[in-house]
Symmetry: C2
Subunit: 351 residues, 2 copies
């Protein structure tokens, strides 16, 4: 297990020098952020990023994300150019020592929440998703102010995107994903890079847009689309675990035993019966997921990929990028260290 930590580049209020002081920290997870989706990252930008990370004593081996252009997800004729650009990015990153690239295939919206700072009993705040509140929202009303993405598109752009997706149902999205994978996985194999698709978050349809990376059945299908270790999963416990329909422990067992998980995102969520959920501290008792059970399964299956604490709460008065403060993610990392070291020393575990 190689412990890693997401960093949003030089503008991130969380400095690399601070991340380095988290015990056992191995890798930085980052990206080139000043290039529009679909374009090629310059070798200079990649080299500069790598140099910064390595100067702080950390490894530059994981990228999150190289974004997938909407034209690829929509299957537009222009996708050929964007896939060629994607392959070029894979090659350049592989040459720079990157071993894992995370991406997602969610139409329009990335992770979706209805609240960025829901207050918890101990005064911490965290991201939350209120199912009934989301149902009442019309993303095209122009009045929508959904945390996390609302500034990504102008109203007219959003309407055009929704119109374009009117012709793309789940099956069509699968076709487009398959086309993408057949385009990029050979390049990843050649570059020594493992692609890691992030599950849809939450793992169900929102606003009538298809979402397909959601369940065991669908993850099986994804892996069958291209049978290669380079076609892998960014197994996100918080995303998949937000759906009570997912048998998370069985899934992490199955896919790690298959060697198809190059990257673990580990966080906890507390689920409610109506489909709502809120993010919690990593500590198992605070949420619906058993972190020790998840890690002991990974350990038993010889997991040697990258693992990062995912979204943290905001604690101790920290402000910053929701979910991506330093403090609670660092507590998550220390907690994962404790679990993993214990498994190392006391194994074999019972998973």
């Amino acid at each position: 297990m190689k412990l890693s930590f997401r960093w949003y580049g030089p503008d991130d209020p969380v400095a690399l020098e601070k991340i380095r002081q988290i015990p056992n920290m191995h890798s930085i997870v980052t990206a080139v952020y000043d290039v529009p989706p679909g374009e090629v990252w310059s070798r200079e930008s990649i080299a500069a990023l790598k140099a910064q990370v390595e100067a702080a004593g950390l490894a530059f081996e994981v990228i999150e994300s190289v974004p997938v252009h909407e034209d690829i997800k929509l299957g537009r004729p222009t996708r050929g150019r964007y896939i060629a650009n994607y392959c070029e990015n894979i090659r350049r990153l592989g040459e720079a020592g990157v071993r894992c690239i995370c991406y997602n295939f969610m139409p329009v919206f990335d992770w979706t929440r209805t609240e960025l700072a829901k207050r918890q009993a101990d005064g911490a705040t965290a991201l939350a998703y209120d199912a009934s509140r989301l149902e009442g929202l019309d993303p095209l009303s122009g009045e929508l102010s959904l945390p996390g993405w609302d500034s990504s598109y102008k109203k007219e752009e959003l309407r055009a995107l929704f119109e374009a997706y009117a012709g793309v149902d789940a099956e069509r999205l699968w076709e487009n994903l398959g086309y993408f994978l057949h385009g990029v996985i050979p390049a990843a194999e050649a570059a020594g890079v493992r692609m890691a698709i992030h599950p849809d978050d939450p793992p169900w349809e929102i606003f009538g847009l298809p979402r397909i990376i959601t369940t065991e059945e669908n993850l099986d299908r994804l892996l069958r689309l291209y049978d290669s270790p380079s076609n892998g999963l960014a197994f996100c416990t918080g995303s998949l675990g937000a759906g009570a329909f997912n048998d998370l422990y069985h899934m992490v067992d199955k896919y790690s035993a298959m060697g198809r998980i190059p990257f673990m995102h580990v966080r906890n969520v507390r689920r409610y019966p109506d489909g709502s959920f809120e993010e919690t501290a990593h500590y198992s008792a605070y949420g619906s997921l058993d972190m020790v059970r998840i890690l002991s399964i990974l350990h038993r299956n010889g997991f040697d990929g990258y693992m990062r604490p995912d979204h943290g709460r905001m604690i101790w008065g920290e402000s910053g990028r929701p979910g991506y403060g330093l403090y609670d993610r660092a507590l998550g990392a220390a907690y994962l260290n404790g679990i993993w070291e214990t498994l190392d020393k006391l194994g074999p575990s019972r998973g």
Copy 2:
């Protein structure tokens, strides 16, 4: 295991509200700080402290420390009054719900280091003890500026104390400790309080003053002085572990199996062959002590006492009381949570 955290009262830059946000935090470890050693704490002060701690959602069950007046350690005729006062403090604290009182029996100096902010490879700083540097120091020269205690005494007071201790060798100190225990342990038993003596830190003589709470042989002797669960240990892994002569794992096994450890102080140190040491992150690989081994022994022996992360490094630019910042101690707490939860779920451990 009840996770706890030391707090230096309302003047502590680390606020209770922040401590509460550390997952699984149970108890605050604190004291009344505005009363001179040897005097009785007012019921009002105790009640105010308890109210503050409980208002933050934390338990008020551990005191560190009720200091032992030097006249008791010296065996002066005045000790009777100070022991009576000590018993009264035990009674008052027991009435307020306190279950464990930590104290030490070190002459003149409490914990001793030669450096408060030794820089480590990752930019963190930590307390350190350089053996050769300490040997060259004369505490009576008036030029001594030893971190942590140098402002406790004026030069003349220090000289007078050293003169008083000239007549107190280790055997005499043992006698005085026995006299103290026979005075206070019955009061502790009656109050439902367990006394927890802190080992001398470091566990060897300094400046020619006797130190007796240092080794297995001496801890055995301490426990024999008064055979009661209320005569217990604050087993400090960092203090006892600074001496390579101590078989720490055997000792924690022995005394926890005997039920004589009401309070664990857990931290790591890196020892050097010349007797020097420096404090490190809790994470085992960073120091000389195996945290998983220590906790798995405690777990196997059914440890249900209080445990606190001890001294942390200074990280992330924090300033404050050396060893007692929020950040690295909180990382220690999260790490201990991970170990303990894993032991709970995967046991029986192999210790």
